[in-house]
Symmetry: C2
Subunit: 352 residues, 2 copies
């Protein structure tokens, strides 16, 4: 189950409401992040076993990016309600085919450098949840990142499978450094593995209203009014993430640590970091032609490509599209969402 | 005589070889600087008395911007050879109609805020050169500008007409401040007034090779081989400015001081300064829509217009065109010409 929702604010102006992050080629290949996610999991799953959950507004764009055989397996959410309803709805579909069918829930907007290493961990996670546990993949931290959640590893239940001792929200710098030194914390990757019946049972226990809504949707499955039922239920339920809503308080939760060049590329600064290897001698990176005079630490991204000249600027991110241009200090990329809010307040939907 | 040559490097990427500064609307109106120059001088000159000297590469663009009656008075230089040959060639044309005809030589890339005040000074300069003197307009300095040349005012020969005591190259800051305090120095505006015979006599005295070349061109005037003669002579002569080549060592040179909101808009930083009055509360100026988060002192210029968002950047100039984009520290605009050189070295003539 590939989760391909998302609002497209953090990568504005490249990302838009109709073209959120997962439809961009932000990784190190020309593939969109969604297409790369499909390709990455294909050795582990038959094509007809893949599902994509996405937003109704971009369902046509998603359909163009996935193999034809997958088009009937796209679930279009009428509104974004975070990941818990998304996972629950997909679980209904899997349960209809096999209640004990194992789901891998994979965000479509992650970059993974070593795909085979990733699949090794995924196979381990599949085995770990066969008995009914909820499993998550934890990434061995390569730096004291303060932008991710962490999971504390507990007792090792079998080779490479630990009890999840505790979920930790984004830590401060000192705490993150201690985690990296200590070696018993991993990044919460947001990738989950569980049997359909197991996750639905946890949803019933921890989020009974969502569960009731899901059963309504399931009852309408295949009927003419299925889309209406989905819309009614989504209109009523609260948004909640699968992490906070379910995983952190689940009865039996295990974590499979691994290291496979994972990044969730959460901002333009992260996109810059990912490309540092291709920088010039002063840390400038470009998608497109670049001319530099006394500039350093900059990222220039133009679509369509044009020549960019940087003169005397440091740590600046430049993103140029046909109708909008962003020039942003690399240390202040989190404010890009404020820009998007300002544009929305001006009712400039044409550039959102 | 409007001098509309120029190479189009300092305002790259808006200015190009085929669209140098004088063909841009860098002033505070929608007129190109050339069209504004024509409009400004019209109350003082009959249309058939105007001449425009420009480069062969842009002669068609120039012809589109000037009144139809002026098209036959465009002199197209085959190569740029600075201002002395340009003035000399125009003087030949004037001499053919009236050897004592008075020429006003006006660069096409200046901004003038108070046009009537300018014309008052120009009328004074015309009177000052009737007896054969070379006259120049000096601008009373409004700030200790280190980017302009200065002229020291000598004895006042008649009301508002001084002997030019000395030409001074671009001074350092302390010297410029002393000039402004002292009140006896004016900016060299690069606008000159003289009789055709007077300037040609000075050219003959100070630049005999140029004078010989000019006489060759004059001998071919109106003949089929006129363009060939111009090309041959221009191919042979050295480039030299009218200031250094003639004015600074002329026998009788006077200066008419005035203040009329003059600027030569020599860089993107100057274009920013000119627009400061329309800046937001933090000194940001835009041609086009602008969204700002913690940015200050910036200029955003887009052609065609697009939305620009500035986040966390200070004193940055952003100039966006269809095929090239410049992001430049406002304090380093002089390096824009290095960018143009780099682009030329890469043989990217498409963006020059």
């Amino acid at each position: 189950v590939i989760m391909a929702g998302g609002s497209g604010t953090r990568f504005w102006p490249l990302s838009r409401r109709r073209r959120p992050k997962q439809l961009l080629a932000l990784g190190d290949s020309d593939l969109t992040m969604l297409a790369a996610t499909v390709r990455r999991i294909r050795p582990l799953a038959k094509i007809e076993d893949l599902y994509v959950v996405t937003g109704a507004a971009i369902v046509d764009d998603v359909a163009r990016l996935v193999p034809d055989a997958l088009v009937d397996n796209i679930l279009a959410e009428p509104f974004g309600r975070n990941t818990a309803p998304c996972v629950g709805w997909a679980a209904l579909r899997v349960r209809r085919r096999d209640p004990r069918g194992i789901m891998a829930v994979l965000p479509a907007d992650h970059v993974i450098g070593d795909e085979e290493a990733f699949r090794e961990v995924a196979r381990r996670a599949v085995r770990a949840c066969e008995g009914g546990a909820l499993a998550t993949i934890g990434v061995t931290p390569s730096r004291p990142e303060t932008g991710y959640g962490y999971i504390e590893l507990g007792e090792e239940l079998s080779a490479g499978v630990h009890r999840a001792e505790r979920f930790v929200e984004k830590p401060d710098r000192a705490t993150a450094e201690a985690y990296v030194r200590g070696g018993s914390h991993v990044w919460n990757s947001g990738m989950f593995f569980f049997r359909a019946d197991a996750i639905l049972a946890e949803i019933e226990r921890q989020m009974p209203e969502l569960h009731a809504g899901l059963e309504e949707i399931d009852a309408a499955a295949g009927r003419d009014d299925e889309a209406d039922a989905v819309r009614t239920v989504y209109g009523r339920i609260a948004g909640q993430s699968i992490d906070y809503g379910i995983m952190e308080h689940a009865r039996e939760i295990v974590v499979c640590p691994g290291r496979f060049g994972w990044d969730d590329v959460g901002s333009w600064a992260a996109a810059y970091e990912m490309r540092r290897g291709s920088a010039d001698g002063r840390g400038n990176v470009a998608e497109g032609d670049l001319v530099v005079c006394d500039a350093e630490g900059c990222l220039a991204w133009t679509e369509p490509r044009k020549l960019v000249a940087l003169v005397g600027v440091q740590d600046v991110i430049v993103v140029d599209t046909e109708d909008a241009l962003l020039v942003c200090s690399r240390g202040q990329v989190q404010k890009v969402k404020d820009v998007v809010e300002q544009i929305a307040a001006r009712r400039r939907d044409d550039v959102l």
